[in-house]
C-alpha cells in the first residue's frame, strides 16, 4: 500500500516462531533460577518419599514410578507459573498478541521452549532418581519414554491454565486447583505403562495412547492457550 510495505519484507511464520523460541530460551538461560528451582524441587520431593514412607527397598520399588510421576507433575506445575507472567508484566505479551502471525504458533514456540528448559532436564535426571527408589531395571526405558511423551502434554495443558490466570496477583494455588485434576489421564497412562513393563508385558499400547494424547494436545491446547491469553490481556 505504501512505500514502507513494499521495501520491508515481512517475516515468515517460521522465522517468527524461531525468534520467539530463541528469545525464550535466552531468557531462561539468563534467569537460571526459574530453571533450576523446579528441577531442585523435583529432586527434593522425590527424596522425601522414602523418608516419609519407608526405606524398605521392596516397598519403594513398588511406588517408584508413581512417586516420580507425581513429583514431575508438581514440578512442572511450579515451573509453569512463569510461562507468561514476566511477559505479561513487561508488556511483551501485548506485542506477541499483535503479531501478524497466528498466535497458535507463537504459543507453541513458548511451550516448546518451556518444555526444553523445564521438562527435559527432569526427564533426563529421572533414571538416577528411579535408581534411588529401587525401580526394577526393566522399567527404566519405559519410564523415560513415558515421561518424554507425558511432560510436553502437561506443559501444553498447563499452559491453558497459566494463560487464564496470568493477570491475577497471587495465583500459585489456583493454578494447582485448575491444572492438577487435568493431569489425571497423563498420570494414569504414564504409570500404567511403567506397570506394564514391570509385569513383563508390552507398554507399547499405553505409550501409543499417550502419543495420541500428545498429538491432540499439540493441535488443540495452543488454541485454547491463545484464546485464554487474549481474554487475560483484554
Amino acid at each position: 500500500m505504501t512505500i514502507e510495505q513494499s521495501t520491508i519484507k515481512q517475516t515468515t511464520m517460521a522465522a517468527a516462531f524461531i525468534a520467539t523460541l530463541k528469545r525464550d530460551l535466552l531468557i531462561s538461560f539468563k534467569k537460571k533460577n526459574d530453571v533450576v528451582n523446579p528441577f531442585m524441587f523435583f529432586v527434593i520431593v522425590v527424596s522425601l518419599f522414602p523418608i516419609g514412607i519407608s526405606p524398605d527397598s521392596d516397598r519403594l520399588s513398588e511406588i517408584a514410578a508413581g512417586v516420580i510421576w507425581i513429583s514431575v507433575l508438581l514440578a512442572s506445575m511450579l515451573s509453569m507459573d512463569n510461562l507468561y507472567r514476566s511477559d505479561y508484566e513487561d508488556g511483551s505479551l501485548e506485542q506477541l498478541l499483535l503479531s501478524p502471525h497466528p498466535l497458535f504458533f507463537m504459543v507453541l514456540a513458548k511451550n516448546l521452549s518451556h518444555w526444553l528448559v523445564s521438562g527435559l532436564p527432569v526427564v533426563l535426571i529421572s533414571p538416577l532418581l528411579a535408581y534411588m527408589l529401587n525401580l526394577p531395571q526393566a522399567a527404566y526405558f519405559t519410564l523415560i519414554c513415558s515421561l518424554l511423551i507425558g511432560t510436553p502434554i502437561m506443559s501444553l495443558v498447563g499452559s491453558i491454565a497459566v494463560a487464564l490466570t496470568v493477570g491475577l496477583g497471587s495465583r500459585g494455588l489456583i493454578l494447582a486447583v485448575i491444572t492438577l485434576p487435568m493431569s489425571v489421564p497423563v498420570l494414569i497412562f504414564g504409570t500404567l505403562s511403567v506397570q506394564a513393563s514391570l509385569n513383563n508385558t508390552s507398554p507399547a499400547g499405553y505409550l501409543a495412547l499417550m502419543l495420541a494424547m500428545l498429538a491432540v494436545a499439540v493441535s488443540l491446547a495452543p488454541l485454547a492457550s491463545a484464546t485464554a491469553l487474549r481474554i487475560s490481556v483484554n
Binding site: A161, I178, P181, M182, P185, Q195, M213, I231, S232, N234
Partner: protein, 247 residues
C-alpha cells in the same frame, strides 16, 4: 440477526418468561419428588440380594445422572458466551457451577453411604464412576475459584467459559482413562454397581421418577439462582428498578 439473537438472550426476557414458567415447574418438581421419595424410599419392595439398601440407589443414581449434565451445560453456555457474548449464558453458567459441585458432592456422599453397606467400605478407588465424579468435583471447584479470583466480570465470563469447554473435554478423557485404569487394577473387585443391581420394573420406574424429579429440581434451582443474578447485575436498569418499586 445479531440484534434478534441478543434480544432472545436478554435478561429481561428471560426473567419474564421464567417467571411465568416457575410455578408450573415447581409444582411438577414437588409432585415428582414427593412420589419418588415416598414410594421409592418407603414402599418399594426390598431387593432379594441387597435388601432395603437398594433404596439408597434410587437417590444416588438420580443425583449422579443429573450431575453429569453440568459440564455439558456449562460448556454450551461457554460457547454461547464466547461466540455471541450473550450475558444470560454466562449468568446461567456462573450459577450452574456451584449447583453442579453440590450435586457432584451429593453423588459422592450417597454413593459412599450405599458403598458402606454393600461393599463394606465408604470409599472404593476401584469404582471408576466414583473416581470420575471426584475429579469432576475438583474441576468444578477449579471453575468456581477462577470465577471468584477474576474481578472483571467480562473477563471472568470469558475465562470461565473457556475453562468449562476445556473441562468438558477433560471430564470425558478422565472418565475413559479412569475406567481403563480400573479394569487393570481390579484385583479383588467388590460388588460392581451395575452387574449386581437389583432388578425388577418397579425399581427402574422409581429411578426414572427420581431422575425426572432431580432434573426438575436442577432446573428450578438454576432458574431461581439465575433470576437472582439477573436482578443483581441489571440493578441499574429501568425495568429492575420498576420491579423493585412495585413490590
Amino acid at each position: 440477526m445479531w440484534l434478534w439473537f441478543s434480544k432472545l438472550g436478554s435478561p429481561k426476557w428471560f426473567y419474564e418468561l421464567s417467571g411465568r414458567w416457575l410455578p408450573w415447574l415447581i409444582a411438577a418438581m414437588t409432585i415428582f419428588i414427593t412420589v419418588g421419595v415416598i414410594w421409592g424410599l418407603l414402599y418399594l419392595p426390598p431387593d432379594y440380594q441387597q435388601g432395603y439398601t437398594s433404596r439408597i440407589l434410587i437417590v444416588h443414581v438420580a443425583v449422579a445422572g443429573t450431575s453429569l449434565a453440568f459440564f455439558p451445560l456449562m460448556a454450551v453456555a461457554g460457547v454461547i458466551t464466547m461466540v455471541w457474548r450473550m450475558k444470560l449464558a454466562d449468568m446461567v453458567a456462573k450459577m450452574a457451577a456451584p449447583i453442579g459441585a453440590w450435586f457432584s458432592f451429593l453423588t459422592l456422599a450417597t454413593g459412599s453411604i450405599w458403598g458402606s453397606i454393600s461393599w463394606g467400605t465408604w470409599w472404593e478407588w476401584t469404582d471408576a464412576r466414583l473416581v470420575t465424579m471426584l475429579f469432576q468435583l475438583f474441576l468444578l471447584l477449579g471453575v468456581i475459584s477462577l470465577r471468584s479470583a477474576l474481578e472483571d466480570q467480562d473477563k471472568a465470563a470469558k475465562a470461565c467459559a473457556l475453562l468449562s469447554i476445556v473441562g468438558l473435554i477433560n471430564v470425558v478423557v478422565i472418565k475413559y482413562s479412569v475406567e481403563w485404569w480400573n479394569v487393570l487394577h481390579q484385583v479383588a473387585s467388590p460388588v460392581s454397581l451395575s452387574a449386581d443391581s437389583p432388578n425388577g420394573p418397579q425399581f427402574w420406574i422409581a429411578i426414572a421418577i427420581m431422575i425426572v424429579a432431580m432434573y426438575l429440581f436442577l432446573s428450578v434451582s438454576l432458574i431461581l439462582a439465575t433470576r437472582n443474578e439477573i436482578l443483581q447485575r441489571e440493578r441499574r436498569s429501568q425495568w429492575v428498578q420498576d420491579l423493585v418499586r412495585q413490590s
